[in-house]
Symmetry: C2
Subunit: 333 residues, 2 copies
Amino acid sequence: MRPPQIAYPVLVADVGGTNCRLALVDDPEAAPRALARIGTAAHPTPEAAFETVLSSLPERPRSAVLAVAGPLEGRGARLTNASWEFDGPRLAGALGLQQGLLVNDFEALAASLCVLGAKDVTTLVPGQPDGGARLVLGPGTGFGAAALIGRDDRLLLVPTESGHIGVGPEDPTEQRIWPALTAGLPRVTVESLLSGDGLVRFHRAVAATSGMREAEVSAADVSRLALDGDPSALMAVVCFWRLLGRVAGDLALVFKATGGIYVAGGIAPRLLPLVDAGVIGAVFSGKPPMEDLAARFALHVISVQDAAEQGLAAIAADPRRFGLDDPSRLWFG
Amino acid sequence: MRPPQIAYPVLVADVGGTNCRLALVDDPEAAPRALARIGTAAHPTPEAAFETVLSSLPERPRSAVLAVAGPLEGRGARLTNASWEFDGPRLAGALGLQQGLLVNDFEALAASLCVLGAKDVTTLVPGQPDGGARLVLGPGTGFGAAALIGRDDRLLLVPTESGHIGVGPEDPTEQRIWPALTAGLPRVTVESLLSGDGLVRFHRAVAATSGMREAEVSAADVSRLALDGDPSALMAVVCFWRLLGRVAGDLALVFKATGGIYVAGGIAPRLLPLVDAGVIGAVFSGKPPMEDLAARFALHVISVQDAAEQGLAAIAADPRRFGLDDPSRLWFG
């Protein structure tokens, strides 16, 4: 039995802890048209925020497919790093929508993997991609990951909590900076090192280990300093990329992601000018005794900004194509 | 379109690098009846080995569903640690079978999770299991893992190569023994520490770090010595269990395995008398900031010997129920 189709136009939005990008999709074949980028802090609720954008449109959306950077519970969700709460049917009622779906941000990015093209990514390791599992992961405010696994005629979105697995030092550089890097952490996780906060931690640890005194800086500062040639910031970025490459290769093994690994999030594209593709290739693919499998893994950085919205549009176009873990998440107002 | 049913009786066999256990399943509701356990080294080919067992049966099997501890390629497979090669249709021709299917050993174990009962497992951490993903993993000759993910009316078998992800020291005891533990390894992987060889490595590292001289012993020796109260062996087993609990908890996060985590393989049941469930619970579930999710994970040790055969019988009873990554793996002779 096929569920009812999603009614167009569809509002798609990538709702992060700081910013929210809204776009409109006119029909199942259309690309998302950007509407606005708004700060979540400027509006008390998503209903209020969305209404300010929608009220100026000639044609209102009839459905919404939203990616929320936070835990989902059925048709509800809340942002991890802001006060917004989402209740699907309530949102639909307030905005006059017929139906909608909430997914998490990495589910949206996983869905985007079937529509992104070569122009949307920067390839660091070409590999020999095939029709196997694909994996999207990456550092942002936190570290997210989701897999896209094809089975029969479906593409299954498999959410993961891979950002919260533990991590220990595995090379001499890491062993040297580890005590300073992980000081004060109750538990050292992938997310605690591969995130905006993690980049700052790397910077502080590199400076402390070399006996330098560094000012308190933000993740954006570290990126900027590194691009300007500041040695501690450069070394922090080198360590960050190495760990990111290693973790990406390990998670590729977990999911046998021969379809390709995609790094998402705002940090990696900004640090692309500083990546050493040879080093990344070595830590990403250097996985004895699984060299043959690891040599097939491709590593890309998603450089296009609206990947999540593209994924949401793909889900809207054919929700049945994507195996949601709970089909009742698609609500009807 | 439903594929043809598997014809009964069905030969099921769990083919490991050292031993191979054969059983017969009379009908879709029947439990596997053990036929024989044979050493792979004693026979040049699986055809020859199986024929010696089948020739004495009053009724020959009409199909075979086999679990092979090694890489699969479509309808073929080869053992990692022995010379046997499998070619599905060739085997069917030689043994007079109509059809069959090769899966890997952890796919068979993953399938068994839907038929194993409370009597077949020892529960170390009760958790609050639900209908979410289930995960089977564990140390043997290597370290295997596979997930069982329910989607729609299917149970998807998701093979992984999680044994080959890297691992670094994450607690003070590990930091202390790490140099001795990992000496000579080109790369420190889960499998290099959580396997029979890994248990021997832990024993050697504990002895070396404490300045003791230990005889060269096998994994079985370490288990026996530990059960007899030998301090180095006991400490090796404590370290082994701690790392196993930690890795199991991390992989549970990767797969959001709220359906439960099952430890398979021959080593864990043997070391059960030495497990400290409190310590295991702490390293398995102590995953800040994901305590709420981790508290739901259950951890069991599969203590029944024929779990793989039970999984194969479940697959034979309804291959469509299990989402094979490639349906053409089911061959017809």
